[in-house]
Structures are given as C-alpha cells and as structure tokens.
C-alpha cells in the first residue's frame, strides 16, 4: 500500500522533473536565439527575457520534488549526526511534517494568487502582454507536486521508513526506471 503510494508519488515527481529539464533546455534555446537574432538578423526577439524568467520559475518548482526525492535540497544534519538511529527517524518525521506544513501554506498562497490573476485577467506590463495565469498556474502545479511529495514522505516515514532508505535514482535517471528501492 505505502509502496504503491510512494511509487505513484515518485512517478509524479519524476514527470515534473522531466518537465523542468525541458524548461531548462527551452531557456537555453531561447537565450541563444536572442543572441543569434540580434547579432545576425539585427532584431531582438523581445520576449526572451520575460519568458526566460518564467521558465526559471518553472525549473525551480517543477524540479523541486524530484530534487527532494534525490536528497538534493540542503538541510542541516548536525543534530542528526549526534542522535541514536531511532531518534533520527522521529526527528526526520518532525522535520518532514514542518516542511509539509510550510509547503501547504505555499500552495494555499499560490492558489489564491492564481485565482486572483485569473479573475482579473492580469497580463504582464511588457510588450508581450502575456496572460500571467499561464506561468503562474504551471508554477502552482510544481508547488503542489512538491507538497504532495513531502506529505507522502511523512506517511512513509510513519508506516514504512525503510522504503525511503534508497533514493529513486540520481541525476539523469531517464534511461532506467525511476526506482530500485520499491520492490
């Protein structure tokens, strides 16, 4: 049961991570196109800076769950190193619950933000006048998956902590399946 839940959560996290990787590639292509266009064609594409900013926001939040699963997010381990193994598990659970609570607050805040953007039909004040609901809703998706990953992590810590002992896969990971630690 828990194993299934973790599997599903890992699937979501990895899918979001792949979206982030695509956003990263787009960001590079966009910046490069601007350089090429300005230097060879003499015209600026105009939208590159604005869209690059949105892509950066997307990368940060879309990759956050997969980074969490792979232990890439920084946390301070000083206290853990000086505690017995049993206590470490409870401390980790406490930290995960606090983290999840903060993430829930993030999600709620961003839901309100997106609703207001949608309601007002806010567009950017740049020449592109991009409807801001698009990048904001995508970021909300990333934040939501991140929050879910934290919640699932808390559940797994309570019910089956051994499942978390291995991380799904390190950087890359695309070629093989996401996890070794599930079976």
């Amino acid at each position: 049961m828990i194993s299934r839940l973790l599997q599903a959560s890992d699937f979501l996290a990895r899918a979001a991570g792949m979206l982030a990787a695509i956003a990263m590639a787009l960001l590079f292509v966009l910046m490069l196109s601007e350089i090429v266009s300005r230097n060879l064609l003499g015209t600026s594409l105009g939208f590159t800076w604005e869209v690059s900013g949105y892509l950066l926001g997307l990368v940060i939040f879309m990759a956050s769950s997969w980074a969490l699963r792979n232990d890439k997010h920084i946390r301070i381990t000083l206290l853990r190193e000086h505690l017995p193994a049993a206590a470490v598990r409870w401390l980790d659970l406490l930290a995960t619950l606090i983290g999840a609570a903060i993430a829930v607050f993030f999600t709620a805040a961003f839901v309100g933000f997106c609703l207001q953007t949608w309601h007002n039909g806010t567009v950017s004040s740049t020449p592109q006048q991009i409807p801001l609901i698009v990048p904001r809703a995508l970021m909300l998706l990333g934040i939501t998956i991140f929050t879910l990953t934290l919640v699932v992590r808390a559940v797994a810590l309570i019910a089956a902590p051994s499942l978390l002992e291995t991380t799904p896969d390190d950087d890359g990971a695309a070629a093989s399946g996401p996890t070794e630690g599930e079976s």
């Binding site: 600026s44 105009g46 800076w49 207001q116 740049t126």
Partner: protein
C-alpha cells in the same frame, strides 16, 4: 498615532522619494503627529513595481508611490499618459493630466484605493551615438525600450527595439550590444551615459507619471478632519512637486551637457513624423483600454486641438 506603511521601488535619494518624504513630513506636522507615513524606499520589501496596485488593494501595504505605466497589466486606462507622442510638450501634458485625473480616481476606487497626487517623471528621449534629426537616423538602431508602447512606436519609426533588464543596459551599451537607450535625463545621469553615447534628443515621446496611493480601508480609518488635512496638503503640494520634477530634468540635462552630450529637441518635421508613427497605437489604445479610456482620449484631443 496611525502608522501607514508606504512603499516605493525607487531608491532613497531619488526625487520621487524626496518629495514623498516631504509630503510625509507635512502630513505628520499638520496632523500633530497623529498620522505617520512609514516610508520604505528601494524595494526593500520585495515589491518591485507592476504589483503595487494590487498590493495596496490587498492591504499588504497601506500605500505606495507607484509608476502608473507599470500598472497597465491590471488597469489599461492608467496607461494613457504613456501612449506615444500623445502629448508634445509641457502644456499638452498638463492638460492631459487635468482631464485624466477624474478617470484615475474612478479606477483607483475600483482597486480599493485613493490616489493622493501625481508627479510625472521627466519626459523620455533617446540616447544615441549618432544625432537623431530625422526618422532616417533611427533606421536599424538597436534601441533599448521598456514597454509595449515604446517597442511598437520605435519599431514603426524603423528602429530595432531591444528589451533587457536595466542591470544589463550599461554593459550592453559599453560592449555595443545595443546602440542606444530610450529613457529620461535622470536615468541617463545615473548610468553615466556620456561614456557610451554622444547625443540625447529629448523627443518627450512619452510621459511616465508616479502616483501616491492609499488603501481605502486605511484611509477610512482616519478621522474626517485628518482626511481633509491630507487631501488639502496633497492639492497644495502637487504643483510644487511637479515643479521639482521639471527642475530635476533641467539639472540633469545640464549635467549631461557638461559631460559633452549634445542635447536637441525634435524639429517640426520630425514632430509630424512622430505623430504619424504613433497613430496605430492611439487607435490600439482606444480599442483595447475600454470605453472610458476612449472617451478620455477624445475629450483630451478635442480640448488640445481647440486651443
């Protein structure tokens, strides 16, 4: 005493912040210290500009000194003063300001706030390496622009508008990634543009007004007497502040000239060409900014041409 938190993206020392401080002092004095503005300049509260209208509406802060041009994503009518070459000189600008104010007040109320007064930035011109005497001189010039109006206006004039964050502008000018910048004289001085450009044509193609706005809930928590005091102070000080803006323009123009920048204004021919190039955007503004904006524009053009 009531403390109102007022934010502005401009750094301490900027004339907009100086006048805001003067206003705060006057309010404090006139209300016997009962109403205090807690001014946060330089964006130290993380608010950058385009979100200030909603930040004041939501009560994140009680007030703001904001650039109207940046609020058009939420309230297109507020962009009328930035429609290219709608005002050709100071008289036009004063007329538009006067006619637009009631419309602004209405928009402000829709966003749960009250505009106290407005202070325009000095008019926008172009810093370039070659003199700009006719439209031909703008052909293919890689010019850094900020908003939709500027981008389309200069595209219509044959230039090649480039967008980039302000932080990149100076290195880009230095290395030749761009040829020129459209901005006002104080920004030209801030960026030491004489190091990279030789000419400033003060086209005055666009106005960028700041307003000082107060959240209505905060406003309504003041006594009638305090409200009247603040309103009459705003009315009294607004012309002084607008004069400060003009003085600031002259002072900075002199600094630029002293550093060897050739200053000029558009000739009559160029002025005609500018008006012509701006027509599509006048039309677009009428069509996209709502019925009231259209009405305001007609009112202004009628009044201007009647003079």
């Amino acid at each position: 005493a009531t403390q109102l938190m007022i934010v502005t993206p401009w750094p301490e020392g900027n004339f907009q912040v100086k006048t805001l401080n003067q206003f705060a002092d006057a309010v404090k004095k006139a209300t016997d210290g009962e109403v205090e503005f807690d001014i946060h300049a330089g964006g130290d509260l993380g608010l950058k500009g385009p979100e200030l209208l909603s930040a004041v509406r939501d009560g994140i802060v009680q007030g703001a000194d904001m650039l109207l041009t940046q609020q058009v994503g939420q309230a297109p009518l507020l962009g009328i003063e930035s429609v290219p070459y709608l005002t050709r000189d100071q008289d036009d600008a004063a007329l538009l300001r006067k006619l637009a104010w009631p419309y602004y007040e209405k928009t402000a109320a829709q966003f749960n706030q009250k505009f106290l007064y407005t202070v325009p930035w000095p008019g926008q011109g172009v810093f370039t390496q070659q003199p700009v005497e006719s439209v031909d001189d703008l052909q293919g010039v890689k010019l850094r622009t900020v908003d939709k109006n500027g981008t389309e206006f200069f595209k219509a004039l044959g230039a090649s508008p480039v967008q980039m964050p302000w932080g990149e502008v100076v290195p880009a000018l230095a290395s030749g990634a761009i040829d020129g910048v459209t901005t006002s004289t104080p920004s030209g001085v801030d960026g030491s543009f004489w190091e990279f450009t030789d000419y400033f044509n003060k086209l005055d193609w666009q106005l960028a007004p700041d307003v000082v706005s107060i959240n209505l809930d905060a406003w309504n928590s003041l006594t009638d007497e305090q409200q009247q005091t603040i309103e009459s102070l705003a009315q009294k000080m607004e012309p002084q502040f607008q004069q400060v803006s003009q003085d600031e323009d002259k002072r900075n123009a002199k600094i630029l000239a002293d550093h060897g920048i050739h200053m000029s204004s558009p000739s009559e021919t160029l002025s005609k060409q500018l008006t012509e190039a701006a027509q599509p955007q006048w039309k677009q503004f009428r069509e996209s900014a709502g019925a009231e904006a259209d009405e305001l524009m007609t009112k202004y053009l009628d009044a201007r041409d009647a003079e």
